[in-house]
Symmetry: C2
Subunit: 98 residues, 2 copies
């Protein structure tokens, strides 16, 4: 399933998301998208830093983008910041450059 | 002073940092670095999203990088995630591409 390699980081302990990222690559994913909104953005950065620094030596950050989304709340629409961090297997990058 | 165009985002209200970024560009800065560590990372993203979306139409994100720093605490060293968002005047990019 295509959406399997998207990890939405929320309010659970950070190691839950680290495990999810590591599992994706262990199961053969070539790239994983780590996404978060609002206060969870810090945890998304923690997730990738821990996953890459401690567990996935052959994975690197390909891109980090931020954006603004409108969400509906009880008091009307409000803006929330988002982050998307794309992680890729280093070997895949190597193939492109060869 | 070189360091003037580095905004360290901490625990103050986000609009304080938005104002600091806007002031830098208003005073002639060509690029501004927005930095934060730990939980303040979310606020650094909010700062740039609000500053660019609402106040600085001619400024764009040039790069977003994350890293891990070791900090000393009472209980020994610990790792903390960091973010650095580089904002540049769009006209400066235009000059390079001409």
């Amino acid at each position: 399933m295509q959406d399997d390699n998207i990890i939405f980081v929320g309010n659970k302990p950070v190691m839950n998301y680290v495990l999810a990222v590591v599992t994706q690559f262990t199961n053969g994913a070539q790239e994983v998208f780590v996404k978060a909104r609002g206060k969870a953005i810090s945890r998304a950065v923690d997730t990738t830093e821990i996953a890459l620094g401690r567990f996935l030596q052959n994975v690197e950050k390909r891109s980090i983008t931020t954006s603004t989304e409108q969400v509906d709340t009880e008091n009307g629409k409000t803006n929330v910041s988002c982050i998307e961090i794309v992680l890729v297997l280093r070997s895949e990058i190597g193939q492109v450059s060869l």
